[in-house]
Symmetry: C2
Subunit: 269 residues, 2 copies
DNA sequence: TATTGACTCTCCCGTTACTGGAGGCTGTAG
DNA sequence: CTACAGCCTCCAGTAACGGGAGAGTCAATA
């Protein structure tokens, strides 16, 4: 017979835990001194305790363990317990996998944005655009409707998206209620489906300006771009493009003063 | 301003949860009526609540969330939180992966054993053995030492093991203290290392008998096998083999009366 | 024999993020 | 005036222990 302290050292279970298991009826001492209340454990219980530890390591609940110990003395008796427990664990696993994925997406996005922030200058630039394939939804109406379009594209093309969202503007002047625009996502490949049009945007020389601040203030930056185009006597093509480099975050809506949007106007070649 | 019930419907958080968040200081109502104690929430808090929900879905603790909300209003501010949280989640993931693996191993083992139990007959059989590659440790001494050898082989060749453990007996008579034997694991491939000898066991005609019961009673089954060999005038080869079909389980020590051991004696060809 | 020091006992609280329930007050509609 | 829905506070419970207080016990030593 071992005292609780000895038994604790043998089994690796703490004294507290042993007392708790006694209270819960999972592992009862062989003998309890009626006078002192001291617990004494017989050597046979060592194996019993080992079984309990094993099951706890597999994250079985104490009530499951009680049930198991009451009706089984062989691994083959508990196959159903094992399988159903495996399912629960697998569900947890799935959940944590999703969380890690989400976290990864957010982290990657923010790290990109952060590194980008460093090397941005807020002057008008001329640069060369590569052609890109996009999935877009042509819309007429209010810009505020674009959210639905983006999420629809996201659902359909989720895993093929390869860059930041952008919007094509087909109006030559600013319109509020019946604007003509196309929310797009750059994709690696895919075909038009279900109202979503997959097409290629041509590359070429373009004028680019990065706008920092809320979307309502985009007008000021457009002014600069069009002023520049006029000064240089450049002719440009429709539609113009807005690339949303940094907008509302995945968690916070973010601070609109930090939003970054690139205005791109492709020149006639 | 919304009442707690309205705000609950809007945000999807239960009334209980909202009260709890108030108590914890995570999400304080905009106004609390001093007379009635009624909580009232301003529309701006909807977004705030959404942030909290998002973070909870990512399994952040409430104290983390408080800390985050107190010092950040943009995703990029919380990169460190996200990364360190990601690590914790990844650790959990690892753990659950291990558990699933262990469970799978146990389940597979037991299902095999169970299906085997059905088609076993306990008569002496003559059958054809295929050659197999094994990793073994030649030992002299007591059989009870074999556990260490098995676990050593398991550690070194873990992922290449492809069948049940077996033991080779080189003694022509029973010996207690200085037996000459070799615990082995069948493996798919591998090389001798560090005291472990990888070699091939030849195939051929063999006499086989499945023994059910504790190892101490193996003697009775050996008697039957050798009796049969004598009756048939068969000559056999050393070493003889014992295959441990079902022994102590991964969790329970199991019931020795249910242990299954196959005795194999290869005939001279 | 008294005394140490190690061991053990019970009882209570705290952890996390809530849920459930009792008992009582408030607001509004009929 | 009376329902009834909605809101309040306070308390208890969850799972599996860990920490600590205060008191009793055991074995060996002075």
């Amino acid at each position: 017979m071992f005292s609780i302290g000895e038994f604790s050292k043998i089994t690796g279970l703490t004294v507290k835990t042993l007392r708790f298991y006694h209270e819960q009826g999972v592992l009862k001492p062989s003998h309890v001194d009626p006078g002192t209340g001291y617990r004494y454990y017989a050597p046979e219980l060592i194996d019993y305790a080992r079984v309990i530890s094993s099951l706890r390591e597999l994250e079985f609940s104490l009530s499951d363990i009680s049930a198991i110990l009451n009706q089984a003395d062989d691994d083959s008796d508990i196959l159903e317990f094992l399988s159903s427990h495996r399912q629960e664990i697998a569900a947890q696993l799935e959940r944590y996998n999703q969380i890690t994925n989400s976290l990864d997406v957010i982290i990657r996005k923010e790290e990109e944005a952060r590194s980008l922030m460093g090397k941005i200058n807020y002057d008008i630039e001329e640069k060369q655009l590569e052609p890109i394939l996009v999935a877009g939804i042509r819309m007429k109406g209010r810009y505020s409707e674009c959210g639905k379009a983006f999420s629809k594209i996201g659902r359909k093309f989720g895993r093929h998206i390869c860059d930041k969202p952008l919007m094509l503007h087909y109006d030559s002047e600013y319109r509020e209620d019946d604007a003509n625009f196309e929310p797009c996502m750059p994709i690696r490949r895919g075909d038009s489906v279900d109202g979503i049009d997959v097409h290629e945007l041509r590359g070429g020389r373009c004028i680019s300006l990065i706008h920092q601040g809320p979307y309502e203030e985009l007008g000021r930056s457009y002014e600069r771009v069009f002023g520049y185009l006029r000064d240089q006597n450049y002719e440009f093509e429709m539609p113009t493009r807005e690339v949303y480099i940094k907008g509302p975050g995945m968690i916070f809506r973010g601070n609109p003063k930090k939003y970054l949007t690139e205005i791109q106007v492709v020149l006639k070649s």
